[in-house]
């Protein structure tokens, strides 16, 4: 259900530069007629991302005050929708919400996470379960009682086309001539599977250089694990690590890679949407990805996407290697 000219309250635990920031930021940009009130309880310093948007308000509320806060907001403000992610207990507490629709959102492709939340979630208290892809809709429908399957609706995530477009600057990135950048975006966790990217890089000729863009990383050990992998596969000198880049910077990096015959590479083992793939394609940077989760649905987006059977590192490297230098 599309909401326009309305107030929308969104609640999520982390105010961070993670994937949900991308989801929220793009909604704010794409729905200028809506007023977005974003409420978090863990402050990881990302509220400034929203500073520039007059149609947005960000609040950090103590976790124990979330329920009365949201109830009061619903009574006073008449939100068209209250959207909650990763907080099933809060959803259950919101009995007095006036005419506001209560939407529970899933964005994780991890079934363990989905089951854990669904075990707590009182489905009878919500008006809709919203997911960003057909793939995730099918997964969630398989996990809820059939009587509640009707609640599950797909609303595709939005890409900020004002930032991720083919037109625009390629920034001041400075690589030696002949270098072909391969961009990988994610975290150093097992699901995003950066190790396969490093392995694929090791199979490629030296003109290919990896640029790993991470966010929400604060573990020195995980970064050290990545660096150890890079050293073990002999590609330390062909890997650049970026962290918490602003969307405009990421977009300029994509365009820079596009102009140097690079690729966006996804070695993720599960995707509920595939934001990185969608955004890189929007800038004209071709993407190549393991075919998992909702990635296949990105084939219908504007741009170039090649799918590789998940785990086939050689095939991934061969496809990249075979692509011509423009």
């Amino acid at each position: 259900m599309t909401v326009t000219n309305s107030r929308i309250l969104t609640v999520y635990p982390n105010c961070s530069m993670g994937g949900m920031m991308t989801v929220y930021r793009n909604r704010v940009v794409s729905e200028p007629a809506n007023h977005h009130h974003l409420v978090f309880f863990k402050d990881f310093g990302a509220s400034s991302v929203y500073d520039q948007f007059p149609n947005t308000r960000v609040d950090i509320v103590k976790k124990e005050r979330l329920a009365p806060y949201v109830e009061l907001a619903a009574l006073e403000q008449h939100y068209a929708e209250i959207r909650i992610t990763s907080l099933p207990e809060l959803s259950n507490l919101l009995k007095n919400r006036g005419s506001s629709r209560l939407v529970y959102e899933f964005h994780s492709s991890d079934e363990t996470v989905l089951r854990k939340e669904l075990d707590v979630l009182a489905l009878s208290n919500i008006d809709e379960i919203r997911v960003p892809s057909q793939y995730l809709a099918e997964v969630v429908k398989s996990l809820v009682p059939q009587d509640f399957a009707f609640l599950v609706q797909v609303e595709k995530n939005l890409v900020d086309l004002t930032v991720f477009s083919a037109e625009g600057t390629t920034g001041t990135w400075n690589m030696k001539s002949g270098i072909r950048p391969l961009i990988w975006v994610g975290r150093f966790d097992k699901g995003k599977n950066c190790r396969d990217f490093v392995r694929a890089l090791s199979l490629l000729t030296p003109e290919f250089v990896g640029v790993v863009v991470v966010s929400m990383e604060d573990s020195p050990d995980r970064m050290a694990g990545f660096l150890a992998d890079a050293a073990a596969y002999g590609v330390s000198h062909r890997l650049e690590v970026m962290m918490n880049l602003a969307p405009a910077d990421v977009a300029s990096l994509y365009r820079y890679a596009r102009d140097r015959s690079g690729y966006f590479v996804s070695t993720s083992l599960g995707e509920s949407f595939g934001y990185g793939v969608a955004e890189s394609m929007a800038t004209g940077l071709p993407a190549i990805a393991y075919s998992v989760g909702a990635i296949e649905e990105r084939l219908s987006d504007w741009g170039s996407l090649e799918l590789v059977p998940v785990g086939d590192i050689e095939e991934l490297a061969n496809r990249i290697s075979a692509s011509p230098m423009m």
């Binding site: 990881f44 310093g45 005050r65 009365p68 009061l72 020195p220 918490n244």
Partner: protein
């Protein structure tokens, strides 16, 4: 202004008085009145004027401390008179220190008095009569304009009029925007799902009303605040005195400007050919002279030399202190992404990023990002962070991250030969440079009067050995000092600092002076003959280049120190490699005289080791890298 008189002149007298106090002596067992601003003791007769100006309907409160001889009874009284002269009396017996009178639309005058009964003396003081609005809590309804306010402080007095049935009440806060629409409160306030932001009202009793004071954060875009009183449990009996006092707390510059805007504005203010130096460091924020470490000192010197400074301290930057000066800006580490985006258009080696002993994951990423923008990257190594990590500090450290930083830096600059050697091994290179620590030129000049022949001669006779610094047994060798003190009872050891273990038994000739401010340290050290640095041998201490050796020398002290840093290059310094050599080296130092040659050596050395000299050296290294890369 109150003038006091008695309704009897024969058996009582006022001994002394002023407007807010009086002393009365009584020789009669009967009662009489001490009257305020009237002389007629018959209260059926209205006064010529009211004891206080008031608006009919206000509450009159008289408060006054009374001390009386044993057996004397006192009671404050207020008498209200209608236009027809009809009196209404409020009298508080039982030694109460206050009395209240409710006025009505008909009340025209008010009189005040103290009733006294019995023989002896009465002292009344701190007498105060007020006419105030007093009304039920539910009548509070006030709207405040909030332009450019970050918070509002509200205070008020209230009491529970029926202590036998304890009541409670709330103040609620409702924010509105320019159009009058409700703005939701910030989550820092207590919130009720129906009433919104609120606080409980503190309640005293009628004689001692309690103050409620609360600071309410103002949400962005709100223009008005509506404060309401809400009776809660038996709340109708809650009485508020006077109008709530409201103080607006104005937004500071950082609140009027977003973090992003502040960073962008500063970066945009730097000319394209300006020399920008960025510190990413474990040091504290700029502006705390006593806490300043090498990065703080050098940032100050670079700025004096016309450079632009961005400083990422270890701790969060307090809002309002981001703009340290026109040419230096502090940024919290969490805003590194905003900073990188803001400097993305700046390329070239005149932009220098110094990772100063802080090779964490963010530094690794910033290095790579800025390398791709052709910046100059410096790894400055002030301590052996791996050793700190080993003893439980610096949790952010990982040797692979340091290896990455060391191998990617354009230059590695360390404070000691030991660190330079280690960095060469880690990075697989051989060009790590040592630029030792230094001393503030202010200390060198301030302590110059101590470094003259006459005072050197006086201190040659001194038997005092001194130390200033951290006293943790992790590196301060207490056992060594205690055994030396026992072996040489004629020497006195004066120890300044903090972190000393609790269980030490010190011989009489070790005096622990506790922590001292720098000015006092200079005064105390003027009596010392030798300054010591008795650190335990460890990878951590070998790596250190102790700042205190430069301070000791600035104060004209001979030094005895464990081998570490660049101490071997310092004049009048006795270095011991092994603990067994300490007493002998100290003995040599205590016997040595500070001859002309030594004095000249100190002066020559001090000229080369001030922070401004160190800054020149560092800048020449940056320039050299710049030229080579070009």
């Amino acid at each position: 202004m109150l003038t006091w008189s008695l309704d009897t002149r024969e058996e009582a007298a006022i001994l002394r008085q002023n407007s807010s106090a009086f002393q009365v002596t009584s020789a009669t067992p009967s009662h009489f009145y001490t009257l305020a601003n009237r002389t007629v003791g018959n209260f059926l007769v209205p006064p010529d004027a009211s004891v206080i100006e008031f608006v009919p309907g206000q509450k009159i409160i008289l408060r006054g401390q009374v001390e009386a001889s044993p057996g004397i009874e006192t009671a404050w009284a207020l008498i209200g008179y209608s236009a027809e002269g009809e009196p209404t009396v409020a009298l508080e017996t039982n030694g109460s220190m206050s009395v209240e009178l409710e006025t009505t639309a008909d009340t025209q005058f008010v009189s005040a008095a103290l009733r006294v009964k019995g023989k002896g003396d009465v002292n009344a003081r701190e007498i105060e009569i007020q006419a105030i609005d007093a009304y039920p809590i539910g009548e509070i309804s006030r709207v405040i304009s909030l332009e450019d306010c970050s918070a509002v402080e509200i205070s008020m007095l209230a009491y529970d009029s029926n202590p036998l049935q304890p009541a409670s009440a709330l103040l609620t806060f409702s924010f509105r925007d320019e159009s009058g629409a409700i703005v939701h409160p910030i989550g820092s306030s207590a919130i009720n799902g129906k009433l919104g932001a609120y606080t409980y009202v503190n309640l005293g009793n009628i004689h001692s009303p309690a103050e409620t004071k609360i600071t309410v954060d103002v949400p962005p875009s709100s223009q008005f605040l509506h404060i309401s009183g809400v009776p809660w449990k038996h709340g109708r009996q809650v009485v508020v005195l006077g109008s709530p006092h409201v103080r607006k707390i104005e937004k500071n510059r950082s609140e009027l400007q977003t973090t992003e805007d502040g960073i962008r504005e500063f970066i945009d203010s730097i000319p394209e050919d300006g020399h920008l130096i960025v510190f990413y460091t474990t040091a504290p924020p700029l502006g705390h002279e006593t806490l300043a470490l090498r990065p703080n000192r050098l940032a100050k010197e670079y700025e004096k030399l016309g450079k632009w400074i961005v400083f990422f301290p270890f701790s969060k930057v307090t809002p309002g202190t981001e703009s340290h000066s026109e040419k230096s800006h502090q940024i919290s580490r969490e805003n590194m992404g905003i900073f990188l985006e803001a400097v993305a258009a700046r390329t070239g080696m005149r932009n220098v990023f110094i990772c100063s002993s802080f090779p964490d994951i963010q530094a690794v990423a910033a290095f790579d990002y800025l390398k791709l923008h052709n910046w100059q990257l410096i790894y400055e190594v002030r301590d052996d962070m791996e050793e700190f990590n080993r003893v439980g500090y610096s949790k952010w450290f990982n040797p692979l991250l340091e290896q990455r930083i060391a191998s990617r830096a354009d230059k590695i600059i360390t404070v000691s030969p030991r660190l330079a050697s280690k960095m060469n091994v880690i990075s697989g290179r051989k060009d790590s440079i040592v630029v030792a620590n230094g001393v503030a030129s202010e200390l060198v000049s301030d302590a110059a009067p101590l470094r003259v022949s006459k005072l050197y001669a006086e201190r040659d006779a001194s038997t005092i050995v001194g130390y200033i610094g951290h006293l943790t047994p992790s590196w301060f060798d207490w056992t060594l000092i205690i055994s030396a003190a026992i072996e040489r009872p004629n020497w006195t050891f004066e120890i300044i600092g903090h972190g000393m273990p609790d269980n030490l038994v010190l011989p009489k000739n070790i005096t622990f002076l506790g922590p001292k401010p720098h000015s006092e340290f200079v005064e105390i050290a003027a009596r010392w003959k030798v300054g010591i640095i008795p650190f335990k041998a460890s990878a951590l201490t070998y790596a250190v280049d102790p700042n205190k050796i430069y301070e000791y020398l600035a104060l004209g002290l001979r030094v005895v120190t464990a081998a570490m840093g660049s101490v071997a290059l310092c004049p009048v310094t006795h270095v011991y490699e092994h603990r067994s050599e300490f007493v002998q080296e100290l003995s040599d130092a205590m016997q040595a005289e500070m001859g002309t040659h030594d004095q000249e050596a100190i002066e020559e050395f001090l000229k080369q080791v001030t922070w401004d000299e160190r800054a020149y050296t560092m800048l020449s290294i940056f320039d050299d890298t710049n030229k080579k890369r070009r």
